[in-house]
């Protein structure tokens, strides 16, 4: 690691400070900072040429940062910082924290995240795109100003790699599914207009259309948005490269949208033409023919069933809530249509929906078509999914497949059998997870504090191996106190 240090503690600067002339100090420091920035900026490229070269780091302190953030030097600072793997700014004021964040936000045009736990971090948290506050020892100001609040610094990894990634995937799925299901439903009516002399006659009954998005297809997509996990949380942390999928927007770009749209068009064609062509001569057992509303009820049933089954096909993880909501939506549709076509009130409009579903379900045509149409509609999607996963898999799908035989021990971290295979880190977190959870969420420790862990651990007789840096710190403290 090659460190570029811009410090205000150099002898030259101290000399000028001792002289006490403010303007001269300011001018001199600015010159120094400028000189150093230029020098580092020239040095930096040589480290890029060799791929195995050391990583770069920039260390700058508050006083120098004040000059480096001036408009004339800002660009150099930004360029140099972006070339470094990490930048450490020490002894900075809250305003400077916010200024640095804004500089990166506007200059680099990337998404910035800032995390802090104290009141001095509030301006930084608000300046970044995403601000994360740590609730803890220093109070709740950071939490109140932030977009997300976590309890300890180490949860940031979970937040980004696990929940952030899942959230992106879920959002893409929910939005795409919503467009798809409405497209399939509406285009079916569209094909009907060609057969009505373009007069604008509706294919579906009014209530079907209104309740489609409210009752018959609403809940399953919410469940997917809440629970879908493409890979488990531990695997997400094991393969942080998968986070790039979100950065590159791989699941909601034009290609993905176009593919969903094509399948929606294909499915709507299947819905309309399969149902209307096959119902032109179908009849109930006594020879009576079907009318407009019978055909449209048949088509609508097929749409609801297909669209719900398509949701199951696009889930990565299916909990029992999925089964309940998908099955429930389909059952609610049948309950609704039984009630709707079973009653007649004075307020009915002139659509002849009375008794439609009972007659339909008394024909074997209904069941034969209900088996054919969803399968025909979903066949295209299924083929595409299979081919895509086989020949052009996304990274997360590769991870899924290589780990699909892992035992489902992710949900039960305390399984005794796997204890021997844990690394020391995992053993530690195992032990700690077995400590009683604190009732108060404001436990106060932003960073893992060995004191907290070992205190509570010893209370319960658990042994927590000490961390290396903690041992070193205690040793140095002992040696410092000795001369006194």
């Amino acid at each position: 690691m090659k460190q570029f240090i811009i410090s205000s503690e150099t002898d030259a600067i101290r000399e000028v400070e001792e002289r006490g002339d403010q303007t001269e100090i300011a001018r001199f420091m600015k010159e120094e900072v400028k000189k150093q920035l230029k020098q580092f900026l020239d040095e930096a490229p040589q480290y890029f040429c060799s791929p195995s070269g050391p990583k770069l780091a920039l260390v700058i302190d508050g006083k120098c940062l004040m000059y480096a953030l001036e408009p004339s030097l800002r660009i150099m600072l930004l360029t140099l910082s972006l070339n470094c793997s990490s930048v450490v700014c020490c002894r900075v004021s809250p305003l400077q924290k916010a200024q640095v964040t804004s500089l990166v936000k506007k200059g680099a045009r990337k998404i910035t995240l800032s995390i802090g736990d104290g009141a001095n971090d509030v301006s930084m948290i608000q300046a970044a795109h995403i601000g994360i506050g740590i609730s803890g020892l220093e109070g709740m100001q950071a939490v109140m100003a932030s977009d997300f609040a976590i309890a300890q610094f180490r949860f940031l990894e979970d937040l980004l790699l696990v929940h952030g990634r899942w959230s992106y995937i879920r959002l893409c799925k929910v939005v795409m599914y919503f467009f798809y299901k409405n497209l399939a439903f509406t285009l079916t009516q569209f094909w009907f207009t060609f057969g009505t002399g373009f007069s604008g006659q509706r294919f579906y009954d009014d209530w079907f259309q209104s309740l489609y998005n409210v009752i018959f297809t609403a809940l399953p997509v919410v469940i997917v948005g809440l629970f879908d996990q493409d890979i488990s949380s531990s695997l997400s942390k094991k393969y942080p490269e998968l986070y790039k999928e979100g950065v590159r927007n791989m699941f909601f770009n034009r290609r993905v949208v176009a593919i969903w749209a094509c399948f929606a068009v294909y499915q709507s064609l299947v819905f309309f033409y399969f149902v209307s062509l096959s119902s032109s001569t179908s009849r109930d057992s006594d020879g009576k023919m079907f009318g407009l509303w019978d055909v449209s009820t048949m088509a609508f049933t097929c749409v609801v069933v297909t669209v719900n089954l398509r949701l199951l096909m696009m889930c990565n993880s299916i909990t029992r809530w999925h089964y309940i909501s998908v099955g429930g939506s389909i059952i609610v549709w049948f309950v609704f249509i039984f009630i709707y076509s079973g009653i007649m009130t004075r307020f009915d409009r002139n659509d002849n929906m009375f008794w439609v579903i009972y007659v339909l379900m008394s024909t074997s045509y209904f069941y034969v078509t209900l088996l054919l149409v969803p399968v025909a509609a979903l066949l295209g999607d299924f083929l595409y999914l299979g081919v895509q996963r086989w020949f052009f898999p996304y990274d997360y799908q590769i991870v899924q497949e290589s780990h699909k035989d892992d035992a489902d021990s992710i949900n039960k971290p305390d399984s005794q059998e796997t204890k021997e295979h844990l690394t020391p880190d995992e053993a530690r977190s195992n032990e700690i997870s077995q400590l009683p959870k604190e009732v108060s969420k404001h436990s106060g420790f932003a960073f893992d504090s060995p004191g907290y862990e070992s205190f509570f651990a010893t209370q319960f007789g658990k042994y927590v191996p000490p961390k290396a840096w903690d041992v070193a710190r205690r040793a140095s403290m002992k040696s410092k106190s000795k001369p006194k």
Binding site: T196, K288, G291, R346, F354, Y365
Partner: protein, 320 residues
């Protein structure tokens, strides 16, 4: 120690905490090539037999379709069919005969088929009043029936374009010089007859206007027994449709010659529509329609083809 362990574990695994901690037990289906192949084979395995059974059912239906709207116009009038049909003084009887191609088992259903007739046009579908059909003259405010709502300031029952355009061709069937009785009862949906058309509602002031749209109704028969009207008012979905006319309760043998005497009353000539007479038996699936069977077979066989292709690909270039 172990007891407290188990206790905390049970707490942690409580339903609520599983929900909020995003660790619900889930099945994670991974679509491997084996699953893809198996699914396609399964679909093919189910669909091809079902398709063949369905096709067989469709082929077991015997259907006779005879177009008569051109043939029934006498030669001198073929140039201007519209004025022919609108002229009441010209007799509209017509005869056609056909041979029964296969043995037809009773009941044999008689349909009239109209083509290029947009019963699903928005203004047409709207033009009725279900309230009036059920309750009769007591209903007011039936503006949906415009322009066939009132005539000479008196309400028309049943109002609306659908009723006004009632189909009124009639057919009688003769086989071996004996008339085949056509059962014209119970041709409309039972739910319509009992709940949608009133038992105390009689046609009133119907087809009295200057423009005759279709058939007339007998004012002494209540609407719930006017089955032709009920059948006609169930608007169809597509521009080409069939409606039930009646049933023949006798069997028809092969090579029987059936003569149909029909009255060619209905005007489809103004808009280029076609009229056809259909006799058809029925199967458990309905009428003669190969579409379902063909669709099943097509999808089944394409699934099997895809499964075979994928199996070959899988064997030739297996993934690690």
């Amino acid at each position: 120690m172990t007891d407290t362990d188990r206790g905390t574990q049970r707490d942690r695994d409580s339903a609520f905490s599983l929900f909020t901690q995003q660790s619900l037990p889930a099945c994670k289906p991974v679509l491997t090539p084996e699953w893809v192949i198996m699914t396609f084979l399964f679909i093919g395995f189910i669909f091809i037999p079902v398709g063949l059974v369905t096709l067989r059912a469709s082929h077991s239906v015997v259907e006779i379709v005879e177009r008569y709207d051109i043939g029934c116009v006498p030669e001198p009038f073929r140039i201007d069919k519209v004025s022919y049909i609108q002229d009441d003084s010209i007799p509209k009887n017509c005869s056609l005969s056909f041979k029964v191609p296969k043995y037809m088992k009773a009941p044999i259903y008689i349909y009239y088929q109209l083509e290029n007739y947009y019963q699903n046009h928005r203004r047409y579908v709207k033009s009725r009043s279900d309230k009036q059909l059920l309750h009769g003259q007591n209903e007011h405010g039936i503006s949906s029936c415009q322009p066939v709502e009132v005539n000479n300031d008196r309400p028309i029952i049943p109002c609306g374009l659908i009723a006004w355009s009632l189909f009124n061709d009639t057919f009688t069937f003769i086989r071996n010089r004996a008339e085949l009785k056509v059962n014209r009862k119970n041709i409309a949906w039972k739910s319509d007859r009992e709940h949608k058309f009133g038992k105390n509602v009689y046609p009133f002031n119907f087809q009295n206007g200057t423009l005759i749209g279709g058939g007339k109704l007998n004012p002494t028969i209540p609407l719930s027994d006017q089955e032709d009207l009920i059948v006609w008012m169930r608007t169809s979905a597509l521009p080409s449709f069939r409606k039930l006319y009646g049933r023949i309760e006798k069997d028809l043998d092969v090579d029987d010659v059936v003569v149909v005497h029909l009255m060619n009353n209905y005007n489809t000539y103004s808009f280029g529509g076609k009229k056809k007479l259909v006799l058809s038996t029925t199967s458990w699936l309905g009428g003669k329609n190969d579409f379902l069977g063909l669709a099943y077979v097509f999808i089944g066989s394409s699934s099997v083809t895809i499964a075979v292709v994928f199996t070959l690909l899988h064997l030739l270039s297996p993934r690690h």
